[in-house]
């Protein structure tokens, strides 16, 4: 009986920190994205996971367009990855005539950072990985 109690205690001590870690990670990600949003040339970001989505764009009229494009980009990443054996895709950069998008999947979180064409995507990428 004594032994059983011990094992239960061990389990609970293991699970608690994970839950805390996940929450902290998401919070860190959001904090980091808020910082990134203030970088030169950054227009905004979209963060999605299975349970929630955050969209923060300087021009709210473009939210739907950018949200759809972000989703299509992740679909294309999946397709290209399967077709050409890319492995796990670390990030994608889609460049348009006016705007470019940096898309990163970190665990369940799919992040798209929108920026002006001349913005430094590599710098943003480094900041993202600092989370």
């Amino acid at each position: 009986m004594v032994k059983k109690k011990k094992s239960i205690q061990e389990v609970t001590t293991v699970t608690e920190p994970i839950a805390v870690e996940e929450t902290t990670y998401e919070n860190d990600l959001r904090t980091n994205l808020e910082e990134i949003k203030n970088c030169d040339g950054v227009i905004g970001y979209i963060l999605r996971n299975s349970s929630s989505a955050s969209i923060d764009l300087k021009d709210p009229t473009r939210i739907i367009d950018f949200a759809i494009l972000s989703s299509s980009t992740f679909d294309a990443i999946r397709d290209f990855s399967e077709l050409f054996d890319l492995g796990d895709v670390n990030h994608a950069i889609v460049e348009g005539q006016k705007v470019k998008i940096l898309s990163i999947a970190i665990d369940e979180n799919k992040i798209s950072v929108f920026m002006e064409k001349n913005a430094d995507a590599e710098k943003i990428l480094k900041k993202m990985h600092m989370t």
Binding site: R62, D65, F66, I68, L69, S72, T73, D75, A76, I77, D79, F80, S81, L83, F84, D85, L86, G87, D88, V89, N90, H91, A92, I93, V94, E95, G96, Q97, K98, V99, K100, I101, F114
Partner: protein, 273 residues
């Protein structure tokens, strides 16, 4: 210019790029409207079609960013890059270890140069092929000539015949208008190589002979896209590696007279006398 010639030139370019950059695993090109223009020898057409579909998924939604100029996906095994060049998109798949500076230098210099050259030779080659008014099949590969020979000159010749029938003075049989073919120039050298003779596919020579039965074809007229032309003796290609590739082997002397070099396109038609 025939789209086929255009694709042929680009396909060769992609294969050559892969030869000098072995880190490029796949390379292909397609038009904005999704039409495949050229693919390297390693990439199955099915994969290209699926890739274009995936790409379309993004471009359809990309109006908000002003259309797609480029896409780069960094995987932990391979990397894919889609870049817009004029009206085309070039897709390259490279290994993770590839020296991207080198790859980019090669692809971003070579492909636009070829595109520019092709465009210079004949502007707007990628538009849908216009109806051919001239008897000019303009095909690079001898195999394709076979098809053209069966039907090529019928319509225009009929018109010519009608025109000629009106006076009904000339009793001479009307010979088919000489077929014009396009070839890519390849060097030919050696001590015993005559400097006044070019070499083309034997199959094509046989087809010419079949077409102009009683006439012996011993010479061809070669014309550059710069307007220079020359008559030259003709013989079949000996080296099997050049057969069926739309190549004309040409001595340096003739190249120099025509002010052209290896890799350039020329028009060739048989001299029928």
């Amino acid at each position: 210019m025939d789209n086929e010639v255009y694709s042929f030139a680009l396909k060769n370019t992609l294969n050559e790029i892969q030869n000098i950059c072995p880190d490029i695993k796949n390379a292909f090109m397609f038009r904005e409207d999704g039409e495949i223009i050229a693919g390297d020898k390693n990439t199955p057409e099915e994969n290209i079609v699926h890739a274009i579909d995936a790409f379309d998924g993004v471009t359809e939604k990309a109006e908000a960013i002003g259309g797609v100029e480029s896409i780069i996906l960094e995987g932990n095994k391979n990397r894919i890059s889609v870049s817009r060049m004029n009206e085309l998109y070039l897709v390259t798949v490279t290994s993770r270890k590839a020296d991207m500076n080198y790859v980019n230098t090669v692809t971003r210099v070579l492909v636009p140069t070829i595109l520019k050259l092709l465009d210079k030779i004949n502007p707007a080659p990628l538009k849908s092929a216009p109806p051919k008014l001239e008897v000019e099949p303009q095909i690079p590969i001898a195999k394709h000539v076979e098809k053209q020979l069966e039907e090529p000159i019928e319509e225009p010749r009929m018109e010519e015949r009608k025109e000629q029938k009106e006076p009904e003075v000339k009793p001479e049989p009307v010979l088919p208008e000489p077929l014009v073919n396009q070839f890519i120039v390849e060097n030919i050298g050696g001590l015993l190589v005559p400097t006044d003779t070019v070499r083309i596919d034997n199959d094509l020579l046989l087809q010419w002979q079949e077409l102009y039965q009683d006439r012996k074809i011993e010479e061809v007229e070669i014309e550059t896209f710069g307007g220079k032309s020359i008559r030259s003796k003709i013989k079949p290609i000996k080296d099997s590696k050049y057969e069926g590739k739309g190549i004309i082997q040409m001595p340096e002397k003739i190249q120099s007279t025509l002010e052209i070099k290896k890799g350039e396109l020329v028009r060739v038609k048989p001299v029928i006398e």
